[in-house]
């Protein structure tokens, strides 16, 4: 158990919530995008979260080894950052496409409209995104509070050293 574990864990929560907020913002920005490089309308993105078990030496070593196909130069940088055992917390394992179907909107004047006048719009629901945004910012605040409590605990320990 490290001295700053609680602060590191709260930090992992802060960065995970920030990624979720970024993705929600992207979904909102592309709520009307009918064209993408991959073809078809924009697809809603979702963040996958996973709890990080408090690390032991074995898993830290595995993390430091990294994927086997990396070039020797790049492997050196990953091994230094991954050598420390994780203290726990949360991590983003991936950003995935939402498989729900696209919305069909009747808009004959749109250049993207098909023969019947329907346009394929992204599967983004603005209301869902806004409520997600609220929950993300509240979670972010909770992490900040946890971090502040840990900091004041640390400060009160330091007070003991004063004569």
């Amino acid at each position: 158990m490290g001295l700053f574990d609680a602060i590191d864990i709260a930090g992992s929560g802060l960065s995970a919530e920030r990624v979720r907020m970024d993705v929600t913002a992207e979904n909102l920005a592309n709520a009307q995008s009918t064209r993408t490089a991959a073809g078809g309308p924009y697809r809603r993105q979702e963040v996958e979260l996973q709890a990080v078990p408090p690390g032991d030496f074995g898993s830290a070593l595995e993390g430091a080894m990294g994927p086997s196909e990396t070039v020797p130069g790049a492997a050196a940088t990953t091994s230094t950052s991954g050598a420390e055992a994780p203290s726990g917390g949360v991590e983003v394992t991936g950003i995935v496409n939402d498989p729900s179907p696209d919305q069909l909107v009747y808009e004959p004047s749109n250049p993207e409209a098909n023969a019947k006048g329907y346009v394929q719009m992204p599967n983004v629901n603005t209301v869902t995104e806004m409520t997600d945004l609220i929950s993300e910012s509240r979670s972010y605040e909770a992490d900040v509070t946890a971090m502040q409590t840990s900091k004041s605990m640390f400060n009160s320990t330091l007070e003991l050293l004063k004569p």
Binding site: M1, D5, A6, I9, A10, S12, G13, A16, E17, R20, L49, Q50, A51, S87, G88, G89, V90, S135, E136, R138, S139, A142, D143, T145, A146, M147, T149, S150, S152, M153, S156, T157, E159, L160
Partner: protein
């Protein structure tokens, strides 16, 4: 190094417990949105009670967090952020009280030694 007396030993062990509990509670808050995560709780008081009165045992006490199986969200998550925040605040104050007690105790020792 063995502690000077029993008060010091139990205060130190309790501070260690509260510190570890802080880590466990923070982990719950960070995973408040992780699907399938079960909250953990550290009941360090019971471990302290078992070792009470024995300075040697108190110093070597280790605390193990327990996984709670309760589920409060639709995605199988068992964390309620407001409950965790309350527990965090409580634990922080607990720790504050312990450090103040240890400070007061040290002050008494200092007075006895005429420092």
């Amino acid at each position: 190094m063995s502690s000077l007396d029993g008060t010091q030993a139990i205060l130190e062990a309790a501070m260690r417990g509260a510190w570890q509990r802080q880590t466990v509670l923070t982990e719950n808050v960070s995973n408040a949105e992780t699907p399938g995560y079960h909250r953990e709780e550290l009941n360090f008081e019971s471990a302290l009670r078992a070792a009470e009165g024995n300075s040697e045992a108190l110093e070597n006490t280790s605390f193990e967090p327990e996984v709670q199986s309760q589920v409060s969200g639709p995605n199988g998550n068992g964390v309620s952020v407001d409950q965790e925040s309350a527990l965090l605040a409580e634990n922080g104050l607990d720790y504050e009280a312990l450090t103040q007690m240890l400070g007061a105790h040290n002050e008494t020792l200092r007075a006895a030694m005429g420092l």
